[in-house]
Symmetry: C2
DNA sequence: TATATATTTGCAACCAAGTTGCGTTAATAT
DNA sequence: ATATTAACGCAACTTGGTTGCAAATATATA
């Protein structure tokens, strides 16, 4: 995976920090919070830099927000071809009660829900909870 | 609805503020944040009092947390018989893109999802998005 | 390659949501 | 009527995130 090319294709400059940030996402099988990014990727980088990089990655369609157990803002890599301001996801998310991580789950069907009692339903989000493979025995 | 009795049955003291708080929940068809409580119920009450009352109500099984569009802590009245530290909900939630309100939706089926790829699934949450009856034309 | 332009970074300061400690007041139990 | 316990109010703090602005760095252009 050519990180520099990916950045370029999404209209982002290939700075040291952003290359490492993208690397971290490609090396994670789940998702990251701003705080996790700071400790894992760039302890030296300023908090603000982390937040702004995450914002930029999201806007350019590289990462998307996923639910978090503790209401933090948490991001995961986009699988499909998301482009600038045009995210297209339709997968479930799994929150582990053991490690508090959030995983994208591609092989679970999202139910299509009909409008009901005057509510016009445009989107359905399915969030699963339990224990992830690593925490399955807890 | 005898508010004082409800408080008593849930082991809560009938203070002026808590009676008004409970009243506000019974008079709301959706849900409330701490901030909304403060403006609608007790502008005079301290912020901390609001937070602690909401905590207490939740612990005693009177209200439950619902998802919020902006990651705030948002509460709605429990319909069924929830008791102290034993909430039992199994309904969907609807977030309105117009007014940012969250509604409990009782008549939508929550899918039962099988374990997959080592993930042990214990709970499924279904969150719907769109426009509520009042905002249906926006 | 030099220079102009645009993006990214770091710092400081700020904000909003929520929490904690503690002394005082008010509600229930005896 | 009084003791006990729960609830309240205040101040101070914490955490997650944002904004403004100047300095640094990356890309585009000459």
């Amino acid at each position: 995976m050519d990180l520099e090319l990916v950045l370029k294709e999404h209209g982002l400059r290939k700075t040291t920090f952003r290359k490492e940030l993208l690397h971290a996402f490609y090396n994670s099988n789940s998702s990251l919070t701003a705080d996790e990014v700071k400790t894992k990727v760039g302890e030296s980088a300023d908090r603000v830099t982390v937040y702004r990089a995450l914002d930029a990655f999201e806007k350019k369609g590289l990462i998307h927000r996923v639910p978090d157990k503790n209401n933090l803002t948490r991001y995961a890599l986009c699988q499909s071809k998301c482009s600038t301001d045009a995210h297209s996801h339709n997968h479930a998310h799994f929150i582990c009660n053991g490690c508090d991580e959030t995983y994208c789950i591609e092989d679970v069907e999202i139910p299509v829900v009909r409008n009901t009692k005057g509510f016009v339903i445009k989107k359905s989000k399915l969030t699963l909870e339990g224990n992830c493979p690593s925490c399955a025995d807890s």
